[in-house]
């Protein structure tokens, strides 16, 4: 099965930039603008956060964006219609990230069906148990040609990493350190050792490093040990102000990707 994600990884396996933003933030109708600007600015993957009242794995910046988005009236249903409206103009792979409860209330089959219909390529559902995916949801995700992305942390055992690698067909989300989103990647010896250890496992799926990637130097560091990286909280800070949204996004992405642009 092929979707925009798997196609991307067939064609490109280095310096991949995945940018996370919260749907409906800073304003309800920002979603489409942010999506379009990110693709134009050169993001390789876009990860859209579905806001939740209780985002357990997120630090203060993303929590706050979730609160604002919910106050703006954001919902899964609304998000699907926003994606549908801009999808024809876009090529970039879209991944939805969110907590399981709102998805279960929406209905998991209906969620997959709608996601596929509007052009979503995969999901990250951090609190979905691995065994539940295997036993219940996998056939559904396959039916709708949706990739599933699992997290790996410094504490995840090798057995479990191999199992995750076998279960997914897109990428592995390498959590940079024991932390919620938004903490800095320091690149200290322990962290580098962890990245190295994962690299040496020779997994079949590419790895994107996330949590704490905030700028050019942390992006470059991540790209040394993995096929790419995910920027979340730092990008949320960039789009906090609705004024000059597009300009700010372009400036930020240009800066993060600078060396590539220079060598090209």
């Amino acid at each position: 099965m092929e979707n925009r994600l798997t196609k991307l990884f067939r064609e490109k396996r280095e310096n991949l930039l995945n940018v996370y933003f919260t749907a409906g933030f800073p304003e309800l109708e920002s979603t489409g603008v942010v999506l379009k600007t990110l693709e134009a600015a050169g993001a390789d993957i876009v990860e859209i956060g579905m806001p939740y009242s209780d985002p357990l794995a997120d630090g203060p910046t993303i929590q706050q964006s979730n609160t604002v988005a919910l106050r703006n009236g954001m919902s899964i249903k609304k998000l699907f219609s926003q994606i549908e409206a801009v999808r024809p103009e876009l090529e970039v792979p879209i991944v939805l990230m969110g907590y399981l409860n709102p998805v279960l209330q929406f209905g998991i089959e209906r969620f997959c069906e709608e996601a596929a219909r509007v052009g979503v390529d995969g999901f990250i559902l951090p609190d979905m148990p691995l065994h539940e995916y295997e036993e219940e949801y996998q056939p559904l995700f396959l039916k709708y040609n949706l990739s599933v992305i699992f997290l790996v942390t410094p504490q995840t055992s090798e057995d479990r990493i191999r199992k995750i690698d076998a279960l997914t067909n897109s990428f592995i989300y390498l959590v940079s350190s024991a932390s919620t989103t938004g903490n800095k990647v320091g690149g200290d010896a322990k962290q580098v050792q962890y990245f190295q250890r994962i690299q040496d496992l020779n997994l079949k799926n590419p790895k994107l490093i996330g949590f704490g990637i905030s700028d050019r130097s942390s992006f470059q560091l991540a790209c040394k040990y993995a096929e790419g990286a995910i920027i979340g909280s730092a990008f949320i800070k960039i789009i906090q102000q609705p004024e000059n949204l597009e300009e700010n996004i372009r400036g930020f992405i240009r800066e993060v990707k600078a060396p590539e642009a220079v060598s090209a």
Partner: protein, 403 residues
């Protein structure tokens, strides 16, 4: 036992472990080891010793004569209010601190609502010489001030939580985030039968000492181990789980779970999860949960901080679904009347949480021959400010009740 947890961590349709990968190694380690550790003879010996000499167990089973007269039934109070630190919460924290030491952990975190679990955790951390950080909603730090002072005196750091509803739900979120960031040295002592498996079962086992004692005590006093009713309040449900535990498979014992209706179940200011909740996921567990149609968690309300929670433990969701327990919801006002009633009738000032269980006696159709065991989960000292404020307001005409 068909009401106990199954090997996959579920009570019927409820339970499981819905946690991000960052928590998986810690929760999995607990799952693999908790039963083995808890039932090791050396662990049991240490635990039983502490429960006896430090906590002051067994707590009395007290025949409340004037209360019995009022309701025309034979009512016993299980005096968890007399346990060290003033509530049942210590039964669980004593157990978990011994477990944490065996897991080699050096730092303890906890969430707290009323502050009773925070105090009970700070207490056992002082006892064990371990660092203690307690997350508490900012609103709760204000309405349970004496408990904040107690925790600090015991050497704990109290972190006021300003996200979301600033009560128990968000304190729990913040504790979970701390655990994500400190996976290696830290053990999270959850204060109720909530959270991912194995927490609900582990906490229920530590609290089950309540019903174990009741059985013996009732046999001595009544010549029978089983009462007609066991009544307990339910926030997350740990005191109820402990009070019900050894009666779950005794069908002649009717189990009564009492939730907080807040201003009333239809007012939008309530914490009556069995009435207002639907199947969902909260704090890593699939259970009944107060939520919007979009699956966003709703902010609850109760005058009692310990019941101000939008979910219930998965065991109770199962007891509700199967009809094994009957659920009542009691308003803030009814609970406060319960506080005054027990104070005046028996000379016992109950926690506002426990007063919800007392108020439910009015709803139950009791016969003179009925033997009722009501779990008096805690004492009311911590609630004095709220109680005084309430009494001041009702004495004034048009007085609006406040927190």
């Amino acid at each position: 036992m068909k009401y106990s947890v199954d090997e996959r961590g579920y009570y019927g349709n409820y339970g499981g472990a819905y946690i991000p990968e960052m928590l998986y190694p810690n929760v999995e380690e607990l799952r693999q080891k908790y039963l083995e550790i808890i039932y090791e003879p050396a662990f049991q010996e240490e635990l039983q010793g502490l429960l006896r000499d430090y906590v002051g167990r067994p707590t009395p089973l007290y025949w409340a004569k004037r209360l019995s007269e009022k309701f025309n039934a034979k009512i016993y109070l299980k005096r968890e209010d007399l346990a060290h630190t003033g509530a049942h919460k210590i039964n669980n924290t004593v157990g978990q601190i011994l477990l944490a030491k065996r897991l080699g952990k050096t730092r303890i975190i906890a969430e707290t609502g009323a502050g009773q679990h925070g105090v009970a955790t700070a207490t056992v951390c002082a006892l064990a010489g371990l660092e203690c950080v307690v997350y508490m909603g900012k609103i709760d730090t204000e309405r349970q001030k004496p408990n904040v002072a107690r925790m600090q005196l015991l050497g704990a750091t109290v972190v006021p939580v300003t996200s979301g509803s600033q009560t128990l739900k968000d304190a729990t979120n913040e504790a979970i985030r701390d655990w994500i960031s400190n996976p290696e040295d830290t053990h999270y002592i959850i204060g109720s039968v909530v959270g991912p498996h194995p927490y609900p079962d582990m906490v229920a086992r530590f609290q089950s000492v309540i019903s174990e004692e009741v059985k013996q005590q009732l046999l001595e006093k009544e010549g029978r181990a089983n009462p007609d009713y066991v009544v307990a309040c339910v926030g997350g449900g740990s005191n109820a789980a402990g009070a019900f535990y050894h009666f779950l498979d005794e069908p002649e014992v009717k189990l009564v779970a009492v939730e907080a209706a807040g201003h009333g179940v239809d007012t939008g200011f309530s914490a009556a999860t069995s009435v207002l909740g639907t199947l969902g996921i909260i704090h890593g567990s699939k259970t009944l949960l107060m939520q919007t149609d979009d699956g966003q968690i709703v902010e609850p309300h109760s005058i009692s901080a310990g019941l101000d929670y939008p979910g219930i433990g998965p065991m109770h969701a199962h007891l509700w679904e199967t009809g094994r327990a009957k659920f009542y919801s009691i308003t803030d006002n009814e609970a406060m009347e319960g506080v005054v009633m027990l104070s005046r009738l028996e000379g016992i000032i109950p926690a506002i949480e426990s007063a919800h269980a007392l108020a439910a006696l009015h709803r139950m159709e009791l016969k003179p021959t009925d033997v009722v065991v009501l779990n008096l989960s805690g004492r009311g000292d911590k609630d004095l400010a709220t109680i005084i404020n309430y009494l001041d307001n009702i004495e004034k005409p048009h007085g609006e009740q406040t927190n």
